[in-house]
Amino acid sequence: MTWIVKKITIQGIKGVLNRSGDFELSKKGKPKSIAVFGRNAYGKSGYADAIEYLFSIDGEVEHLGKGSADSEQGGKHALPHVLATEKGIVPQVSADFIDINTGETVSITRLVTTGRNDIRPSELNVLLEKAPAYRVLRQHDLRHFVVDMTPGQKFEEFARWIGLKSATTVLKHLTTVEGTLRDTSVDREINERIRSIQEHTLGAVNIFDVSLILSWCSAEISKQLGQVFSLARVEEIENAIAALRARREALVGQVRIAKTSLESVASEFVNPGGYIKRLSENFEMALIIEKKRDELKGKAKESIFQEVWGASKSFLENHAVENCPICQTPWNATVVGSQETAIVSLHSSLMTLSELTTQDSELQQNIQLIKGLLQQFETRLTEIASYAKTISLPDVQSKSDELHARTVFYQQNLVSIIKSESSLISLLNDCQELVQKIIPSAIEQIKTDSTSNSTDDIDLLISHLQGLNESIGRLETLTQQQNSIRNVEIEFGKIADKIRSETKKVADNAVEALKEDVQKIYKKIHPGEAVPNVFIRLNTEEKTLSIRVNFHSNERVVPPGGYLSEAQINTLGLALFLSSVRLFNKEFPFIFLDDIVSSYDADNRARIVDVLAEDMNEFQIFLTTHDERFYSHLRGRLESEDWTFERISSYNFENGPRRESDNLRPEQINELIAQGDEKIAGNAVRQYMEDWFDTMCEKYWVYTPHKKGIREYKRTLFDYWEPFVSRLSSVKAEFGKYILDSNAYKRLQGGLMPIINYYSHNQTNPYEWAAMGDVQYIWVEFQKFADLFRCASCKKLLQYDFNDKKFYCTCGSTILPSTASEEAKPKDG
């Protein structure tokens, strides 16, 4: 795709009102360049302003500034012609573009808007996005990029040239994505889950290690189940939970049984015929017996004489004696007083002894009964303690244990305890309190479905296992997610790195290409000088671009400003501009050069012409200049190319510039000769002669050896002269002889022609310039020679009949003068 400007029309802008604003810039589908010469203040820059405005993204023309209240610049308000409104002319610039490959056309009209909302017509973007480098260069811009712009501004400009701005946007997004992916982590939840594992394993496991967790679970489950339970896989945790639930249910059943049993056992203590009552009664009985026994034992303190008494009684009942048979004391001297009384007394004592024996027997029986009861008591208390333990009633258990100990003690010391009378009562009272207060109260607090430490432990373990199961499952998911995110992050990082490295490569390559081209162009403009090594340093991270040059030493790298001359800085700026459009604007190769050579000397200007002719030949150039010498060089070099040369001959405020096609006229050459610059005048004479021969060769069917095309500027006068003379030699009649015999011909042929060719653009030795006298002389002789081809009768240019091989005039009169002395004289000079 290569777009060219087909036509530009400017009206109502700067010095252009409604005339002199049309430029045809293509011919038969091919681009034409144009050079416009005009003196200062002849409206040339108005064209540059209009074209800069046309392409401006926001309607800004840079050198006009923003036009704010405190600014010395007029801003966009300076763009419209001050008479435009009064004359009813709408300030606008129109352009037609054509893609020379496809024939596609774009036509744009941009009305000058002085407001802020002034967006470039979108149709233009198709062209300009493909050719992003700045395309309008003015004299004052030359040093702008090199010296005036900051490294940041240079980067912005450079980034725009290579579209790096969109690339930097992409790079910015890449950084955003990388940051987001890096921060997108499930670490926090993973850490929470690991803390959860730590909690659910009671601190035993503090990392996500499934085998460690399962090992801990296996140990805890085995403990609760009372048998070895080994977990091999996470999925088996559910089975373990089921087993623990079953175990729990069994335990709950045991508790129910224990509770019922406890209540039953307790009731055995307090039933109407229960242990407490029976023990109480028996103990009461024992105490009574003991008391009675004590009384009997008092009475029977002489019971050791029971056998004696028994024998004495039997003797006394069968024998009457006066004295006591034991002590031989007469009866009346004894306590009893008589034998009969003694017999009665003996009987009574024997009866007491007999009762004592009976009481002893009863007491022994009672003690055995109590001991039996205490034995049962002890057994029941053991059961109570056991049940209490089963269903976790520590108060009941401890009280039962205490009472059990006391019961054992009572059993072992029952006889003495009976004698103390009150101790067993205390035991019974405490037992009564146990079964009537402590046990019922404890049972009341027992819940039906969670009744023991064991079930609580199982419930807790189940809870831990469920928590672990959930955490392990979630952690596996999170780990997968984490790994997946990290993998995506790594893969995206590779892509981002590649995009970055490729972008940097593109930028570096662009910089390198730019640098090479800049140096090449610089060298062409300053061929005799040591070309400074130019460093264009791009920093895409800091978004800066700086320009440095070597200054008389490879080690001395300095900024151009302050070290290079103004011309060198301008050349660097020009080279940068031209290189940037050569690199970046290939698809729309149009540039506007507004008076760019003011600061250069003649040699440099000539070399800039070379650059434009040789290095910018694929570009469509709109050039304005007030420099006659530069213009003349340019014209000499490029007039036979697809270039148009125009002069602004005058300027009028109401009518604007007056443009004229720049075919040199004799009076203009006379004026140049009068001005005294032999190079400009000589060049103009040569151009005029070339133009004349070119026209006449075509008119008279002269075949010239030079070819139309890209090297046409290398034609010389000799390319015309020899064939032209050859044609004259071949014509019929005397016309040829008449010409070849003329003094003008002879002088030209005799040496003047080579001299004037010194002013050819094909001149190789710049020191071989002809003097002004030579120029003037040649000019006079050439005009005489040219006049020979005018009708002697009517002065019209002669025609040539190819078939008849003769010259003639349309007036029909004789074309030759009557005598040789009537050889035509030049009109002027």
Partner: protein, 71 residues
């Protein structure tokens, strides 16, 4: 006639982005799905101002999808 600077050495950033997604990143070295998502969000002439955030969301979604598939 002078030739313009070597085109093979220089490509514009726009051309680069085009080449990145059609050639440079379209190899087995790079994850095709991630390249496709990157192209969808960034491989256009004017990426959305939130293209980075949108691409991040798409990539995280992709990562989660892949994690699910591995289960």
């Amino acid at each position: 006639m002078s030739e313009l600077p070597n085109e093979s050495k220089y490509v514009s950033a726009a051309e680069l982005i085009e080449r990145l997604f059609t050639e440079i990143l379209a190899t087995e070295e790079f994850d095709a799905e991630i390249v496709a998502l990157t192209k969808q969000h960034l491989g256009i002439s004017s990426p959305h101002s939130k293209a980075g955030a949108n691409l991040s969301d798409a990539l995280i979604e992709l990562a989660n999808k892949r994690a699910e598939e591995k289960k």
